[in-house]
Each structure stands twice: as C-alpha cells, then as structure tokens.
Amino acid sequence: MATDGDADFDDAVLDGNAVAGVLASTFGWDMTAMPSQCAHCHNVNITAELRAYTRAPGIVLRCPTCSGVVMRIVETPTSTLIDTSGIAWLRFERR
C-alpha cells in the first residue's frame, strides 16, 4: 500500500486499510479485521473491506454492498470526531 497519488491509476476509492492508523490510535487497537453491521442494509462487513473516500477534509467509509455511509471521521488538531450512525453494531474481540 502507498496512499500517495498516482495519476495513472486515478481511482478515488480506497478501502478500510487506508484509515487503519487513525482508527487504531483512536480506539487503541487494530480495527481492520473487525466485523460491523451496516445500519442501512444490515450486511456485515470487515472494516478493511469498507470503501474509503479520503480526498476530503474528513474521511467517509461506505458499505461495499449498499454504498450507505457507515462512518465519518474528522481529525482536528486536538480531537478526532467519528460519526458512527451508519453502524448497527460492531464486534470487538477480547484478548
């Protein structure tokens, strides 16, 4: 992975792997393998498989099945705001 641009492959959508860093530093552990249910279509997705739109002031994660917005992430200099209204549930594995 390399998230810097490449004009030859100009497709705007990445996947949840691209936002693993901000999620991990916010929640405290890796989230890429975590399942969650889309609140719109009720499909269960792994975070790494969500579609990630990162070319904006914030990050939007969409469901790969229905394209509904699952999560929105905005980082400011002092805080991270995560809108999770598109998630019905998510499952953390206890270790």
Partner: protein, 258 residues
C-alpha cells in the same frame, strides 16, 4: 466473592514516534526503499503497514500510509518502498530529498487483516498473491517471511508492471523463485515488453487469474494489493472461480490518502 483485578491496559502500540532513516536503496529508476529504525518499534507482521507524518516548518503536516516490505524476522528496523509520484505531496520528498540520518514520524505497525504468517497457516496451504505496481510491497514482506521461515507451501505471485524496468525487487524475486521451495513468479507487462518476451503482455483479467491460480487450486489463500481497478478485477475473478470471499484478502491504493 472477590473481584479479579482488572487486566492491565496494554500500552497502545500505535502512538507516533520518531524513526531514523538508516539506509536508502534504489529499486528502479522511480522507486526507492528506505530502511527506518525506531527505538520502540514493536515488530510487525508480514502485510502490515506504517503511517508516516511529515510536518513543514509552518506546522502544515501530511500523513501517508506505506506498506512494510521487509520480513518480520528483522526486528531492529523495517523497510518501506516509495514510488515517486510527480504530483504527490510526500513521495517526491521521500524519493529525492530524504538522506540517511533524517528523522521521520511514524505510527505503527498497523493492520491485522491483510496479514500472512507462515506459522498461522496449514503447512501445505497454497498461497496466491496478486500485485499491481508498488502493490507488491506487502506481498514481498510475505515472500521474504516465507523464505526466512522455511515454508515450502505452493506459492505463486502474479505481478503486473508497466515495463520490465519498473518491476520492483526484480532480481530478488528471481532469486527467491530459483530457490526451489515451491515459489513461482509470473509477470505481466502491460505497456512495453523487451524483445523475445514470452510472458503475459496485458492487464490482469479473468483468464489470466484462472490460469495463474490453476496449479494451486481453489484451496489457496489469496492476497491482492494494487490500484483499486486491478484489485476489483482480481478479487471478483477469484470469487467467480469459487474461492470463498473470506479467503480473498484485498488492499487498495490510489490517489492521495489521509
């Protein structure tokens, strides 16, 4: 009744820390590998990535994610491989200006999904890797790890590049494939071919995926990394060929990230 003491909260391994560039190596005319050493680097798993943060004097900062290309068996440092992208904000710096001794903020290792570990897989389980361009980097970490771990599971890398001289890690891939430990590397060159080229000469498509997978069979574990369009084609092909979606792991990269 007594309450057990709550478990100690694990220290977060994902805080930003300062890494030092300890080596720079040219891979192709447009691609370099940087070796980074960070004092409290916890070690990585093959396939994980790291976030880099560069901050200008005026406080403007940019973050980018780079896959780790080195094998987890090397614990005192790790390598990233950077392709120069003319309109990128970060890669021109990493490709042209960075020198040994420079310090860069890093956060990682990151990711638990796009990971392959020799010890975590059945010893004979076939491994099918599909790469486009610099998408080969995390797959190279898996191949280096596989070699160091002494794994002999049937493994194929299908690797799409534009030109032969843009094939990253070419000589090392040749050497790994010559080791007679079950690894085969299949190249496709999409823009230009050297005279006498007998390999594939087109973008990855359904038929190429089917042919490349055939010697491994539908029991293979698959990892695909590259531009989004290539990942979609390869992943959809594999699922149509009957591989369970949860055995096909993908990582997409594209234009400017977070």
């Amino acid at each position: 009744m007594s309450l057990a003491a709550p478990p100690a909260r694990r220290p977060s391994p994902i805080a930003w820390q300062i890494a030092t560039v300890t080596a720079i190596r040219a891979e192709t005319p447009r691609v370099k590998s940087l070796t980074l050493a960070a004092p409290s680097w916890p070690g990585h798993r093959a396939g994980q990535h790291v976030d880099l943060r560069l901050t200008a004097e005026d406080g403007y900062s940019v973050e980018r994610s780079y896959s780790i290309g080195s094998e987890p068996e090397r614990t005192d440092s790790f390598d990233i491989t950077v392709e120069e992208i003319s309109d990128g904000e970060v890669s021109p710096f990493l490709d042209e200006e960075v020198i040994v001794g420079d310090r860069i903020e890093v956060r990682g290792p990151i990711g638990g999904y796009f990971v392959w570990e020799a010890s975590g897989a059945p010893a004979a389980e076939p491994l099918f890797l599909v790469a486009g361009g610099s998408g080969v980097v995390p797959l190279m970490a898996m191949l280096r790890h596989r070699a160091r771990a002494g794994a002999r599971n049937p493994t194929r890398l299908l690797y799409s590049s534009r030109h032969l001289e843009e094939v990253i890690y070419r000589s090392e891939l040749d050497a790994l494939a010559a080791a007679d430990d079950g690894l085969e590397v299949v190249h496709t060159l999409t823009r230009s071919r050297p005279e006498g080229w007998t390999g594939y000469n087109r973008r990855i498509d359904d038929r190429m995926i089917a042919d490349a997978l055939a010697p491994l069979g539908a029991g293979a574990r698959c990892f695909i990394c590259g531009p989004t369009a290539l990942v979609e084609v390869a992943a959809n092909s594999l699922v149509r060929l009957g591989l369970p979606p949860d055995r096909v792991r993908t990582e997409r990269f594209g234009p400017s990230g977070t």
